[in-house]
Each structure stands twice: as structure tokens, then as C-alpha cells.
């Protein structure tokens, strides 16, 4: 008997209609846990770098995490993996909700989809019954409406559905896969669903998930719940409210938006609008949100309530969380939140990424205002700021006219449009739009994370530490109960907090490169663990002082699965997964030149020092100066097969 996992994957070939239930190899769990980890290994074995995103041979893997459907609180994430259409790199995107636990209760850890259906289909899974069903009647339906239609059609209101909308159907490179309570929106994986003509995957399951050491496991769950309650009652003092709690930043509960509105850039990630936030705006925005927000809700088995059900008169209802509340408002440079809530209703029903889509639209407006795009490119383009956004969204999701060009994202659109448009591609890394931040002084920790992160979104690898020096009088108090630090690093990381902000201990030359490397590694390592376990980063890798950490996660894994994994083994597994993801991208051509933040990300830059930081970081991670894992690193992590592949491809010379 397998514990915590089901031990079966579902293999679906949409070209032939073949469906198989395949037992998984338990040693893969030992080496890669599940979720992102095992996805990365399956992709490595079966999708060579010659395979394009839109090839029928590209896989699309919908995976649960190792701990999903166990009682571990907030273990509900779905990890979707494929080759990204936007940058041809290893694409992985995650979402919360209720889908993964349902999949495991149906008896599967993953669904591995290959091939392409001749016409629109959806997958229906109810325990042992798996069907590829006709979805022609669902074509054009919104993400939410598709889910509702399937529930009615199959007469099973408890079915959990993930689906794509018009944007995914039309292979928009920043389209999102949606489930009522979450979106997998980075790297355009919905376009892969669209390419395979897979409109939705609906699951209902009623099978057991077993726990290896039940009494010990439930005790750890109870401790986490107690700590969650403690942290909800005790926000971290001295940091902005948005970072003081746990969960996704609590933007549906809190009204204080000063931190985002002041520190993030408006328009096409151009300039900050310091001082915009005042009492009057706060009152207007609070009233707007309270009138539209019907209830705060959580994902499966989680008490934190990061999301809100949003009902805007005249627009279909949807569910929203986090910073996306502001992205359309800021990109369009309008002053009222109503506009944001209205755009978001359309955007979520069409299924587009709330980070990228607004920036692509703001980019189009910049090109228009600079005469690069004209009325002949955009006949009927409105004059009003808000109407322009609505107009652009409708064009993009249908790939109509200029929308067809913009649907490939800023990087490709700029090159296709030409006439100097490339100069306006100023906020992408690895061809993907980034969170709009333009700051003053180089931040060495974030410099490394923005540059080297392969999850493409900074929010997906940051966490654990405050983003600014803490005020002197609260530093001692802060480090007192900072139990989350990895063993052996306690003194060093606590000292970092105690000294940060002292004379001479500030950005850019402090913390020193070796400490920068260690802090970045810690933050990223915790995210890669979460993505393999299916635990939400909102209670684990993202917030300061989270309930899950490197000391209790090994217990959850060991008690849940029966494997014997301690802190150092878990750390090693996370490094293995991290290096395998990097290896994918290395053999797909990613090199050091691709690892840089936007030029104007910080006003003050230090090119030589930045290179030194990068050298040190690569060295610390066991990568050579090109950013490629060395033979020694790969062998230490039991990734010998990666080294052999690198030699075969001439990436490494045989030693």
C-alpha cells in the first residue's frame, strides 16, 4: 500500500484517445517527492529540448502535490507543467483550490496528457471511470461557465473543474488555467491546453488516502493549526500590514494599499505615484471593495481566507485574491478601484494572467501614444483610458487584428511590430512580463532572485525575510522566536536582521555576496519544497515566520508517507529538483546572458558589482560561470544522467 500518494498516474493520449492507469515507481517519490519534483523528472525523460511547445509530443502534466488530500492544512495546490509557448523553457505554474485533493481521491496523483484532440474535448474522471468527452458545445464559454456547464451535464455538483476560456482556446501566450478558487497563469500553459483542444478537466473522487503514521501526523497538523491561529492573532510588528500576516497578502481583507501603490510602478511599469494614497482614496476604495466583496473564502482545508467572492453589478461573479486587485488599475493609470474589479471579471472569465495582461495592454497604449502603433493598426481604438483597456482585452483574447500580435506578449509583439517598439520592451525577464517595480537603489538579494528565478515570478521564490531593515527597537524581539531558520544558519541569519540598517550595513554592498547567496538559496529552496508537496506558499515559503518550515516539513513527509526523510535529506531533494529544473532550461539554451533584471529596474546600478554577486551566487549553488550545474554538483545530487546528457549535447566537455 502507498501512503499519502495514490501510486497511480493517468496517461491520456488525445491523438489516439488512449487512456491508461499507470503505477508509479516509489523510488521517484524518495528522490523527487511529487508535484513539481516528479513532473520535472517525467518531463526530462520524455520531452527533449527539440520538442516545441505546440508539438503533439509536448506533455501537459496536471499534478497534485505529495501531501494534497492528507489532513495537512493548506495542502491543496495543483502543479501544472509543460513547455512554455512564450519562452520555450520549462514551464510550471501552480494554483490553489479544490481540484488536486479531488484528483487524489479519484485515485490518481497526476494526469499526463500528450497528443492533440481532433476537436474540442474535456476529460471526465470519476474514480475508475475516465472519459474523453465532446466539448464542442463548450467552445467559447468562459472559464467559470465551462465548469458550471460540466457539473450540470454530468449531474455532479461536487465535481472539481479546471478549464480555459476564450484566451486559452486562442492560444494567447499569457492565458490562464482557472479553477473557481485559483489560476495557473504564468508561462501560458492554458495555451497548451488550447493547442491540445482540451477545454477542461473535471474530477470527482470518493477513494481513501492513507497515512503511514496517523497519530504522529495528526499531531503535527494540530500544531500547524495552532500556529496559524497564533499568527493570525499576532501580525509581525514593524512591517507593512500586507506582509504582517500569513496567507497570500491579505488584499481582500485589508484596505491599506499604501505599500503596493507607493512602491510599485504604474502604467507600463514606468513610474511610481508616491503620495497617491491618501485618506480620501482610502475611503473610496474601501467602500468600493466592501460593496463588491461578498465573502472571504479559502482553498481546500485551509482556514486563512485569502480570496474574496466578487460581485460587480453588470459583470459575472468571480473570485479574487492578492495584488491582482490593483494590476489593471495601475497599468491603466486610473484612480478608481471599480475599474479594476470590472476588468478582472472579464479577465478571469476569459482566463488571462492578471500580472502580464495589464502590462501588455499598457505597452500597446505606449506604442500608440508614441506613434509606433497607429489608427490603421488599431481601427476604432477609443480615447478613454478605461475603454482602451476593455477594447484591447477583447481583441487579445480573440486574437483579432492587433490583438493577434499582442497575444504573444510584449517580447514577441515588440519584435513583430518593429519600428523601434523593442525599446519599449523594458520589463521582461526571460521573455516574460514581470511585476512592475521600479526602485531607487540596487537590492542585492532581489537582484539575484529576479535574475536567476526560473519560476519567472518573483513572488514565487521570495519569502521568509522582511524586505526592508527593521526598526532598531524591534529587531531583538523579532529574532527571539524566529524558529523557521535552517539548522546551522540560526546565528548568521539572526545577526543579519540585527545588523541590517546599521551604519555601513545597507544596500547595495551589504549583505556581502556570500550572505546574499545563502539568503536567496533559503528562500528559493522552501518554495521548491512546497511546490513538490502541494503546500500553499501562503502558509509556508512566502510569509515571514510561516507555520510550515524546514523543521516540521520533514516530519509531515515522513509521517505521511512512511519514508524516512530528515532536514538535510529534504534540503538535498529540494536542490535536486531545483537543479533538474535548471538543467531543462540549460539544454533549452538558457545562459547567463538571459539572467538579468530589466535595465531600469533600479535607478542606481553597479554593473561590476552585480557580476561579482552573480559569480558568487553561481559558485555557491555549484554552477559554473555560465550558470550551468557542474559535474560535481550533478553527481552529488544523483543527477548523473543530466551530466551524461550535457556531455552528449556538448554543454559540458567530458572530464
Amino acid at each position: 500500500m502507498r501512503y499519502a500518494e495514490t501510486g497511480y498516474n493517468l496517461e491520456v493520449d488525445l491523438s489516439t484517445g488512449n487512456i491508461e492507469r499507470v503505477a508509479t515507481d516509489p523510488s521517484m517519490t524518495e528522490q523527487y517527492l511529487g508535484g513539481l519534483g516528479t513532473n520535472a523528472r517525467i518531463m526530462w525523460d520524455r520531452v527533449p529540448p527539440e520538442t516545441d511547445a505546440f508539438s503533439p509530443d509536448n506533455l501537459l502534466i496536471f499534478s497534485s502535490g505529495l501531501l494534497c488530500s492528507t489532513p495537512a492544512p493548506s495542502a491543496n495546490r495543483t502543479i501544472i507543467t509543460s513547455i512554455s509557448p512564450q519562452n520555450s523553457l520549462f514551464g510550471f505554474s501552480m494554483m490553489g483550490g479544490y481540484w488536486s485533493p479531488e484528483l487524489k481521491h479519484a485515485g490518481y496523483d497526476k494526469i499526463i496528457v500528450r497528443g492533440k484532440a481532433p476537436d474540442w474535448v474535456y476529460l471526465w474522471i470519476e474514480n475508475d471511470k475516465v472519459e474523453i468527452r465532446d466539448a464542442k458545445h463548450l467552445q467559447g464559454k468562459s472559464t467559470y461557465d465551462t465548469a458550471e456547464a460540466i457539473r450540470v451535464e454530468m449531474n455532479e455538483p461536487r465535481a472539481q473543474v479546471i478549464s480555459i476560456g476564450l484566451a486559452g482556446e486562442n492560444k494567447v501566450f499569457f492565458s490562464s488555467i482557472e479553477t473557481h478558487r485559483g489560476s495557473a497563469s504564468r508561462l501560458g500553459l492554458a495555451a497548451i491546453m488550447g493547442d491540445k483542444k482540451l477545454k477542461a478537466v473535471a474530477v470527482h473522487g470518493t477513494k481513501d488516502i492513507n497515512i503511514a503514521k496517523p497519530a504522529e501526523f495528526i499531531e503535527e497538523c494540530n500544531k500547524v493549526l495552532e500556529y496559524i491561529q497564533y499568527r493570525l492573532n499576532n501580525p509581525i510588528p514593524g512591517v507593512p500590514p500586507i506582509l504582517a500576516y500569513i496567507g497570500s497578502p491579505q488584499e481582500m481583507a485589508l484596505h491599506d494599499e499604501e505599500w503596493h501603490l507607493d512602491s510599485f510602478a504604474w502604467g507600463h511599469a514606468r513610474a511610481r505615484r508616491k503620495g497617491f494614497w491618501n485618506k480620501e482614496v482610502e475611503k473610496q476604495w474601501s467602500d468600493a471593495m466592501e460593496s463588491y466583496k461578498k465573502r472571504l473564502i479559502s482553498c481546500y482545508n485551509c482556514p486563512i481566507r485569502c480570496a474574496g467572492i466578487v460581485e460587480v453589478p453588470g459583470y459575472p461573479t468571480y473570485i479574487l485574491k492578492c495584488f491582482t486587485k490593483l494590476t489593471y488599475v495601475m497599468a491603466a493609470e486610473v484612480d478608481d478601484l471599480d475599474f479594476g474589479f470590472q476588468m478582472l471579471s472579464k479577465a478571469q472569465h476569459y482566463g488571462v494572467d492578471g500580472f502580464t495582461a495589464p502590462q501588455v495592454m499598457a505597452f500597446a497604449i505606449e506604442l500608440y501614444e508614441n506613434g509606433i502603433l497607429t489608427d490603421s493598426d488599431m481601427p476604432g481604438f477609443p480615447k478613454d483610458k478605461k475603454e482602451r483597456f476593455h477594447w484591447l482585452l477583447e481583441k487579445i483574447v480573440r486574437r483579432e487584428g492587433i490583438g493577434d500580435v499582442l497575444a504573444d506578449g510584449v517580447y514577441w509583439a515588440a519584435r513583430k511590430i518593429g519600428k523601434g517598439a523593442e525599446a519599449f520592451d523594458h520589463n521582461t525577464i526571460k521573455k516574460h512580463e514581470q511585476v512592475p517595480i521600479k526602485l531607487g537603489m540596487l537590492n542585492p538579494i532581489y537582484y539575484i532572485m529576479w535574475s536567476t528565478g526560473e519560476k519567472i515570478n518573483i513572488t514565487q521564490i521570495e519569502g521568509q525575510i522582511p524586505q526592508m531593515p527593521m526598526e532598531k527597537h524591534i529587531r531583538e524581539e523579532f529574532v527571539k522566536d524566529w524558529i523557521q531558520i535552517p539548522t546551522g544558519k540560526e546565528e548568521r541569519f539572526k545577526q543579519f536582521i540585527l545588523e541590517w540598517g546599521e551604519e555601513g550595513k545597507n544596500f547595495p554592498f551589504w549583505p556581502p555576496p556570500d550572505l546574499v547567496a545563502e539568503l536567496v538559496e533559503w528562500q528559493e529552496t522552501m518554495h521548491y519544497i512546497d511546490d513538490s508537496l502541494g503546500i500553499c506558499s501562503g502558509v509556508s515559503s512566502f510569509p515571514i515566520k510561516p507555520p510550515y518550515h524546514i523543521h516540521n516539513l520533514p516530519l509531515f513527509i515522513s509521517y505521511g508517507t512512511g519514508l524516512n526523510i530528515d532536514e538535510s535529506e529534504l534540503w538535498k531533494i529540494s536542490q535536486r529538483i531545483r537543479n533538474l529544473v535548471r538543467a531543462h532550461n540549460v539544454r533549452r539554451g538558457m545562459r547567463r546572458e538571459d539572467e538579468k533584471p530589466p535595465e531600469d529596474h533600479w535607478k542606481k546600478r553597479f554593473p561590476d558589482y552585480e557580476q561579482k554577486l552573480m559569480d558568487e551566487y553561481y559558485k555557491y549553488r555549484g554552477w559554473d560561470l555560465r550558470g550551468i550545474p557542474t559535474k560535481e554538483t550533478l553527481e552529488k545530487l544523483d543527477l548523473d544522467f543530466v551530466y551524461e546528457d550535457f556531455v552528449k549535447r556538448g554543454i559540458h566537455k567530458e572530464e
Binding site: P71, H105, I297, S298, P303
Partner: protein, 188 residues
């Protein structure tokens, strides 16, 4: 006589449908305790419809062999709701194990299950679903109450009753006799 009455109170305004109660209940009632999880075995079920903003936890309460006439629509949150959207077909949010739906039945055997307030030895401070509901949609109350003595059917009785309803008394009696003979032979 006086009797201790245990109550799980449900606040519909606070429930947000996370199903932690189902997870906790299913884990607690597995054997050995917490050795497996399956919300389909939970004795509390959350009817949820996010877009309609309706979340209703319902405890499994009694077994009945007959379908009732039910109600096609009812009020939740002062809004008219159709039961269909919650998988209730033509009935309202009730905790019955009845022939019209597969709720509050063991997924394997189809036998009825109902809330037992997590009676256990040693006893819990409060039922697991209440303990795991950090948003306080479920709260626990104990109070003393005057009550008439009644014969409570235990789980085995209810299970047998439902088997008799399905297969008829004679067949069940035959099967029990046959099985007890078989186990007797085996133990010899």
C-alpha cells in the same frame, strides 16, 4: 431524567466552504484513527456553491428507507436557491441517509453514517470538525436537559436496518447465519 446534550452549532455566515470539517471528521473516524482520509466518508458534508456565495455544512443525522417529497427551492441568506445546484435534486439541506442520493453513506458498502459527536475514549474536548474549524462556523455546546429515556439505535442497528430495507429480512438473516457458520469453521 437529566441528560447531557451535545450540540454542534452552525453559523452559515461564517462558513466559507473549505471542507476542513470533512477532512477532520473522515480522518477521526477511520480505523485506526487518522489512518486514512476520505471526505466522502465524512459525517459532515459542506454543500457549496462559490459563485452563489452559499456554503452550508450539514451533519449526517438519521437513516430513512423512504424518499420524502422534499422542496425544490428554499431560502438561504434571504435568497431563493434551487437544490439542484447543490446536488440535492429535489430536497433541501437535510442530513438524512435516504434512497434519493448518495450522501451520508459509506462509499464502499452504501451503509448509513451519521454524526456521533466524536464520542471516544479518552473523550475529545470538542468534536474534531469543531476543533478544525478555525473560522468558528462550527462551535460546540454542552448543556443539561430534561429528557425522556429513549432507545438509541447504534450504528450496527442502523446499518442492519438499511440492509433489511434493501434486501429483505430473510436474505439478511440467511446471510448472517451463513457468514457466522463460515467464521466458526475458519476459527476451528
Amino acid at each position: 431524567m437529566k441528560r447531557k446534550v451535545k450540540i454542534i452549532k452552525i453559523d452559515l455566515n461564517k462558513c466559507m466552504g473549505c471542507r476542513a470539517c470533512e477532512v477532520a471528521c473522515a480522518a477521526f473516524h477511520s480505523n485506526p484513527k487518522y489512518s486514512n482520509v476520505n471526505p466522502a466518508r465524512s459525517r459532515i458534508q459542506v454543500f457549496r456553491n462559490e459563485l452563489k456565495n452559499v456554503f452550508v455544512p450539514v451533519k449526517g443525522s438519521f437513516y430513512t428507507s423512504a424518499e420524502c417529497a422534499g422542496r425544490p427551492v428554499y431560502m438561504v441568506d434571504e435568497k431563493l436557491q434551487s437544490g439542484y445546484e447543490y446536488g440535492l435534486s429535489v430536497c433541501s439541506f437535510c442530513g438524512a441517509t435516504c434512497p434519493s442520493r448518495d450522501l451520508f453513506k459509506e462509499p464502499d458498502s452504501g451503509l448509513p453514517i451519521k454524526c456521533d459527536m466524536c464520542e471516544s475514549d479518552p473523550p475529545l474536548d470538542e468534536p474534531m470538525c469543531v476543533k478544525w474549524c478555525l473560522v468558528d462556523a462550527l462551535t460546540y455546546e454542552e448543556r443539561e436537559e430534561e429528557a425522556e429515556e429513549e432507545v438509541k439505535l447504534d450504528e450496527l442497528d442502523t446499518g442492519l436496518e438499511s440492509l433489511i430495507d434493501t434486501y429483505g429480512r430473510d436474505k439478511v438473516v440467511d446471510a448472517v447465519a451463513r457468514l457466522s457458520q463460515k467464521t466458526e469453521t475458519q476459527s476451528k
